[in-house]
């Protein structure tokens, strides 16, 4: 089996294992969050590996570096959240949120850099597709605005908690709108390996958006560990981390393959 195949299989195995860790009744909240932390670490590993493969020169390297910084900040957020859980302190809101929210500008910057780099030729897309894109953006804005911002407000919670909860909704909204443009990159790069990377990263962001919205609505149920809320919400978070990892590892492996072919090709 190739290294690429092994990594892909490992990511699937990690996800199944992670979900089992949530479903089994004997696992504690600490173990569950350690598993979540591990999936976040895997996404950082994917980013670091992609940066090492790309190097630090070149426009696309900037995209990979910025996305990796975003992954690192998310990981720090997860680590702090885990730390507060171990201490028995309520982790929301906390310093962890600062790092979670700080990751958004970097992720956003990375995506915008890629969109600018791609020099999208708008005339190549049909008017129907552009309309669908704007319509989906509007629909998503309404859904995220209602569930992620409006429903995130709890009158019984302090103002600061509400601001933090709603900030996630706003940040996700901006991110998902930029992600719709990323979807165009998938079409622009069709036939190329980058297309697969961006599909994976796009689905990863969608999973993160779903998790953030569910968390904003069911914060109290999540924190009390009632029912399947924690399993479902963390399930989406873990899926997003592993999809980021998949996209970035795949990008790095594709690049290694191309570089290897070039180095060993006869003139």
């Amino acid at each position: 089996m190739s290294v690429k195949g092994f990594v892909q299989l490992s990511l699937i195995f990690i996800y199944i294992f992670a979900l089992f860790a949530y479903i089994f009744p004997f696992t504690t909240s600490g173990i569950q969050h350690s598993v979540l932390l591990f999936t976040s670490l895997v996404s950082v590993a994917g980013g670091v590996y992609a940066v090492m493969t790309y190097g630090l020169h070149g426009a696309r390297s900037r995209t990979v570096v910025l996305l990796t910084i975003g992954m690192v900040l998310l990981f720090i957020g997860e680590a702090l959240w885990n730390y507060y859980e171990v201490l028995g302190v309520l982790p929301f809101p906390s310093n962890a949120d600062f790092f979670y929210l700080l990751s958004y500008p970097f992720l956003l910057w990375g995506l915008l850099n890629e969109i600018l780099l791609a020099k999208i030729v708008w005339k190549n897309f049909s008017k129907a597709l552009i309309f669908m894109l704007f319509f989906t953006a509007f629909l998503l804005a309404c859904i995220v605005g209602y569930f992620g911002v409006f429903l995130a407000y709890h009158s019984t919670e302090p103002l600061f908690n509400n601001i933090i909860a709603m900030a996630y909704g706003v940040a996700d909204l901006v991110l998902i709108l930029v992600n719709l443009l990323v979807l165009l990159l998938v079409l622009e790069f069709r036939g190329g390996k980058l297309s697969k990377t961006w599909i994976s990263i796009f689905i990863g962001f969608v999973a993160m958006l779903i998790a953030d919205i569910l968390f904003a609505i069911f914060t109290m149920d999540y924190e009390s560990g009632v029912g399947m809320y924690k399993t479902i919400i963390d399930g989406f978070f873990m899926l997003s981390y592993l999809l980021f990892a998949y996209g970035l590892f795949d990008l790095a492996f594709s690049l290694e393959e191309i570089t290897y072919k070039l180095s060993h090709k006869k003139k």
Binding site: G58, A59, E188, F189, G192, L255, L262, S263, K265, K267
Partner: protein
């Protein structure tokens, strides 16, 4: 610097921007002394592996037209 060298330089930079420095170095080492058609053909092939044929041709044509050279319609 002659026109051919300038175009070759720009193509290597394009590869570096899209595929990073290690790939650009490997490409430059293997194809720097190749004839222009082989050089361009390989560059499009390498780029299209990553960004797709349409995007690779678009980028390459931009470089060629900027340097008043023939387009790549027949190169893939």
């Amino acid at each position: 610097m002659g026109k051919t060298e300038k175009v070759k330089d720009e193509v290597v930079t394009l590869i570096m921007h899209n595929l990073g420095k290690p790939a650009a170095n490997a490409f430059a080492e293997s194809y720097a002394t190749s004839t222009m058609p082989i050089f361009l053909d390989t560059a499009v092939s390498v780029l299209s592996d990553m960004v797709g044929l349409q995007k690779a041709q678009q980028a390459m044509n931009e470089i060629l037209s900027k340097n008043s050279m023939k387009g790549l319609q027949n190169v893939s």
